[in-house]
């Protein structure tokens, strides 16, 4: 679907996605391949502590790419787990 650049976006939509339920052993290549398919990635922060394992922040360059990724990857089955993808508030 063509993304209209002048489409009004709800306020909670932003370029930082908070992802939960990732496999603990996920690699940079896997994250960049999965999320990078939706657009340029500015930065990824992956949880490496006991209380952050399996979570990540994925920052996109473009807000429409972030929305597209959030819509398509929420509930996506990756490695046998369903991803939770939320807009970072």
């Amino acid at each position: 679907m063509a993304t209209l650049k002048n489409q009004r976006l709800p306020p909670e939509v932003n370029r930082i996605l908070f992802v939960k339920n990732l496999p603990f052993k996920i690699t940079s290549a896997e994250i960049y391949e999965l999320f990078g398919a939706y657009g340029g990635i500015r930065q990824v922060r992956l949880g490496n502590a006991s209380d952050t394992m399996g979570t990540a922040f994925v920052v996109y360059d473009d807000i429409f790419d972030a929305r597209n990724a959030c819509e398509h990857l929420s509930g996506y089955n990756f490695g046998g787990r369903y991803l939770v993808v939320l807009y970072h508030q």
Binding site: N6, R8, A29, G36, G40, R42, V44, R45
Partner: protein, 48 residues
């Protein structure tokens, strides 16, 4: 863009503002650093 109504222009300006590139400091201000590591992109990663 020529011919856009003022509303479209206003929205476009808002989008541009929400798409303004972030500096490292701005990212650090918004994202946790303890408990998280910044992943190095895989070799040869080219943003589409």
């Amino acid at each position: 863009s020529a011919g856009s109504s003022s509303v479209a222009l206003k929205i476009e300006r808002e989008i541009d503002d929400r798409n303004r590139p972030w500096t490292e400091e701005e990212l650090n201000a918004q994202l946790p650093s303890d408990g998280y590591e910044i992943l190095a992109p895989p070799a040869g990663y080219v943003p589409i």
